[in-house]
């Protein structure tokens, strides 16, 4: 069975079209049959083609007539509620696919910008980012900060309600950095002063630390149109 991707357009080659029709019609009928059996429901399919005067019918003419009369017995509104033709069906598919695309794009963008944020925290400069990138980066920073504030609140709250958890907090910090005392703030600053200084002074032109030093950072400019402005703000309402 070949698995070539078929272009979704009318097949101009006559024999090819006829062959495709035969195969797909057979497959379609099979699918209707399966749906009916697996779910125990009534269904019918009627196909008119230029290759045959009489239509192809599933399950058979009698069966189809039965289903059709069942259909016609339903109130107008019920009939048309889930009725589609090519156009409306395509519009539905387009809407659904667009939603998925939007979601996937946004997720990718968020992951990308989170990486950028981490690298920026490590001291990389912001010069290679365009306005759209910076805007999205700003959003990601905000999101992360929310989480950090929340966590800090939670810990402080926990520490104030019971003394035992207050002892636990510095304990955890101590495990990670043996040089730390108390809550460890000062100790950390000492060991990471360099880190701090790095991006305190990070807007100097000497720091042309572009992105992608062999790591193949994905800040590409493809399709900048739909990547920028993912999140609205004052600059991009």
């Amino acid at each position: 069975m070949t698995r070539k991707k078929v272009k979704l357009a009318y097949i101009t080659n006559d024999s090819s079209r006829k062959a495709t029709f035969k195969k797909r019609k057979k497959g379609l009928m099979k699918k209707v049959s399966e749906l009916s059996t697996l779910c125990g429901i009534d269904a019918c399919a009627i196909i008119y083609s230029p290759y045959d005067n009489s239509p192809e019918v599933w399950p058979n003419i009698m069966g189809a007539q039965h289903v059709l009369s069942e259909f016609k017995r339903m109130p107008e509104m019920e009939q048309s509620k889930k009725m589609v033709n090519q156009e409306s069906f395509m519009k539905q598919r387009i809407a659904k696919a667009s939603e998925q695309l939007k979601k996937q794009s946004k997720e990718n963008r968020e992951k990308e910008m989170t990486e950028v944020m981490y690298q920026a925290l490590a001291g990389k400069g912001l010069q290679n980012l365009n306005l759209g990138d910076l805007n999205d980066l700003s959003w990601v920073i905000d999101q992360n900060m929310k989480g950090i504030y929340k966590r800090i609140e939670a810990i402080k709250k926990g520490a104030s309600t019971s003394s035992s958890s207050a002892a636990a907090a510095p304990q955890v910090a101590a495990e990670r950095k043996p040089a730390v005392t108390g809550l460890g703030l000062e100790g950390m600053q000492r060991t990471q002063a360099e880190w701090f200084n790095d991006w305190m002074n990070n807007n100097t032109s000497e720091q042309q630390l572009g992105f992608g030093h062999g790591n193949e950072m994905i800040i590409t400019n493809f399709n900048n149109n739909h990547n920028a402005n993912v999140w609205p703000n004052d600059f991009f309402p």
Binding site: Y48, I155, L185
Partner: protein, 212 residues
């Protein structure tokens, strides 16, 4: 986000499904797939078709090309050929053109979706390949209070820098005379177009962004 992979395609028995929840899901998926196949058949081979499906909940779904009612009538009245008056042909041609256009649109979106999915895979690959994570990249819940406080300061500072950089870019842009002309067809277009391109604002397609 880790994607949970399902068991994959499995061969199933061709009898009515026993578990109702599965049955309902199966109906939903297969009905959708059925209509999709019917739609493809219409596009590829230019045939007329109607499918009627009753749901387990006694709702009715129908798909018809060119439309459900006309094909039903054609079938029930045993009409050998569909009408081919000039008006009908015109309507049909217009409809086909519409469908072609929608098809192109859909294909475009599906291609973009596929691209984004591949991009996700690439992003994950690079993440995994990174040697040594910095401590601030770990989950917030695993950080001690001291680290959190420090990270907070770092982030706040980074945010300030980002805002500064954005304002810098905007300021530099607004000082470029050609910026406000909205196009790139002037003679001095060479230099200005480069500036504009470097701003990543894609004015050619998006139009000028308004600034406060």
């Amino acid at each position: 986000m880790a994607r949970k992979t399902s068991k994959g395609r499995q061969k199933i028995q061709m009898t009515k499904m026993s578990k109702e929840s599965n049955l309902l899901v199966t109906f939903s998926k297969r009905r959708s797939g059925l209509f999709k196949k019917a739609s493809e058949l219409c596009t590829l081979c230019g045939v007329e078709i109607v499918i009627i499906v009753f749901s387990p909940g006694h709702k009715v779904f129908s798909f018809g090309h060119p439309n459900v009612e006309s094909i039903i009538n054609r079938f029930l009245t045993r009409n050998p050929t569909s009408s081919s008056s000039t008006t009908c042909q015109l309507v049909e041609a217009h409809r086909n053109a519409n469908v072609r256009e929608l098809n192109t649109q859909l294909t475009g979106i599906l291609n973009q979706l596929e691209f984004e999915k591949k991009r996700e895979v690439e992003i994950e690959k690079i993440k995994k390949a990174k040697i040594g994570k910095n401590w601030w990249e770990g989950p917030v819940n695993e950080l001690g209070l001291g680290e959190l406080e420090q990270l907070k300061l770092g982030m706040e500072d980074l945010k300030k820098n980002v805002t500064k950089q954005m304002q810098k870019i905007i300021f530099e842009a607004s000082n470029t005379p050609a910026f406000f002309l909205g196009g790139s067809s002037s003679n001095r277009g060479q230099v200005d177009a480069k500036n504009i391109k470097g701003l990543g604002l894609s004015m050619a397609t998006n139009g000028p962004t308004s600034f406060p």
